[in-house]
């Protein structure tokens, strides 16, 4: 088992190293001089040169790469010139709305997807099952930003139940801030419930006809217990994987949803960084988000070890 954990850890580090290299290449591939682009057309050549030196852009690419790795190894994600603050602090400042948005979205998605997926598999082929299949496909076709706008229209503008946008201002209480997340989390959650529903259904179908489920039934166990305790518990691994990966991918949905709802989160930060070519921020956000994805992946693999005694390598 230790060998397996070490192997996965090594695999994770290799992927992370490749991620770092890809991010380095993406930012350097930009046509033109990033320093000139960042400073805009009014900058003097001396200003541009000073920034080039400050960012290390005057060095040859391999040296820049080594410098970049060394910087990351120290936990330094660089410095945003526009925000005049370290990228890590900028990301941390914006982490709260994104974290809670993703958390609520995944909770909403799971609350919809798990019961519906289980029921759909249990009543396979029924009208309910067919409707679920169609509805999940529909949900997966809806752009989350569009659904966000529709929710704003109905629940914020017409009914006035929730705030239209924003995060409640700097002095807002925790509860007020969270109330600003209801609509965006619903938009994201509904859209991402589609994938989880499909996986739950498929993985329940895999186990519902297994011998141990039949045995449980033949012992006279109640249907609810059979489905939940015997079948669902065994179907949990693929479901857990997809829930975890959806959580990681939700960050990408958050990029767009935060813009719709003007939430001051990481997504919004990235979009504004792109619009003003703030390369250090783009670079830092890409790295952190990819790292979260890789870590969640690793975490899921480790969870397997804990919840399924059959997984022993």
């Amino acid at each position: 088992m230790t060998r397996y954990v070490l192997q996965r850890l090594l695999g994770m580090l290799t992927v992370m190293f490749t991620v770092v290299t890809i991010v380095f290449i993406i930012v350097r591939v930009a046509p033109g001089d990033p320093a000139a682009v960042m400073l805009g057309p009014d900058a003097t050549p001396a200003d541009v040169e000073a920034l080039r030196v400050r960012l290390g852009l005057d060095q040859p690419l391999p040296i820049q790469y080594v410098y970049f790795l060394a910087q990351l190894a120290r936990g330094d994600l660089g410095h945003s010139i526009f925000l005049d603050m370290p990228v890590a602090s900028a990301l941390l400042d914006r982490a709260e709305p994104t974290f809670f948005l993703t958390l609520f979205a995944i909770l909403i998605a799971s609350a919809i997807a798990l019961p519906v997926g289980i029921m759909s598999a249990y009543r396979r082929g029924s009208l309910f099952d067919q409707s679920v299949t169609t509805l999940t496909m529909l949900a997966a076709s809806i752009p989350s930003f569009w659904l966000g706008l529709i929710l704003i229209q109905v629940f914020a503008v017409r009914l006035g139940w929730f705030p239209v946008a924003g995060y409640g201002g700097p002095d807002a209480s925790f509860l007020t801030r969270m109330s600003h997340l209801v609509l965006p989390a619903t938009a994201l959650g509904v859209v991402s419930s589609a994938l989880i529903t499909r996986f739950t259904r498929a993985s329940m179908l895999d186990v519902l006809n297994d011998d141990y489920v039949r045995t449980a039934r033949s012992k006279g166990m109640g249907e609810f217990r059979v489905v939940m305790k015997h079948a669902f518990k065994n179907a949990l691994i693929p479901v857990l994987t997809v829930v975890g990966l959806t959580a990681a991918l939700l960050v990408s949905g958050a990029v767009v949803t935060e813009t719709v709802f003007s939430l001051p989160g990481v997504g919004n930060l990235v979009v504004s960084a792109v619009l003003r070519r703030d390369y250090p921020v783009i670079q830092g956000a890409l790295l952190v988000i990819a790292a979260i994805y890789v870590l969640i992946n690793f975490g899921i693999d480790m969870l397997y070890l804990m919840i399924d005694p059959r997984v022993r390598y």
Binding site: V27, S141, W146, L149, A202, L286
Partner: protein, 286 residues
Amino acid sequence: MAASSAGVDAPRISTLILQRRTLAIGLAVIATITLLAVLAPLIAPYAPNKLSIVNRLKPPSATWFFGTDEFGHDVFSRTIYAGQLSLVVGAAATALAGVVGITLGVVAGFFRKADGVVSRIIDAMMAFPDILLAIALVAALGPSLATVIIALGIVYAPRLARIVRASTLVIRELPYVEAARALGVPTWRIMTRHVLRNLVSPILVQATFIFAYAMLAEAGLSFLGVGVSPEIPTWGTMIASGRQYVGQADWVTIFPGLAIILTVLSLQLVGDGLRDLLDPRLRKDL
């Protein structure tokens, strides 16, 4: 391949018909949308950029089927014109992802030495959420129609590469490939003639889904203002410009949104239907 397994499914004729019906519906809808987009100059009652400030934000009516936007543009005309660009971006990004993904996948699956490097790159690329990677690439390459296509092509290539690699690994060990090798058939010929031909079904299915995702992602990029220029009508830019009139002129955002949903849904129906038709082993309900 498909023919040999067709008989196996005899007891499931009803399911098959139903699934083929979804394939038929999906194909019909996507064909209609494509036709509307192609024939937009003939069908659209107004030019997509025709300004008419006096008629701004008019609700849907017999004159303006989908209403008008803040500049008095006819939303119906713009929606069908926008379809042209949205479909072209989706198709071109899928084609690019296809070329890059298939090449990487076959090379990784066929040559063990290349596999390590290519697989690591695929894993790393898939660690980035698609729209975020696309945004970063567009930011690096500079926003334009071409860069949006390139960015989306790069973003979705690993998905195809992964599937192609896995299938190539299986096919390369099959007796007929071994026989071809023993007969001295050159590697490139084995790759194109024997390996790729057998990968047509999974590639086709995956490409349909990538088409759908690419269209969603393009809409997202345009909505954020980091994709094509906001003046160019795409479904994403239309929703972005109608955003500030939510609650006042909902039709400006609703109709382009419905166009995206309908297109992506029909592509998914086609993908699902194709998967069932071409490879019954992958059927979702088995």
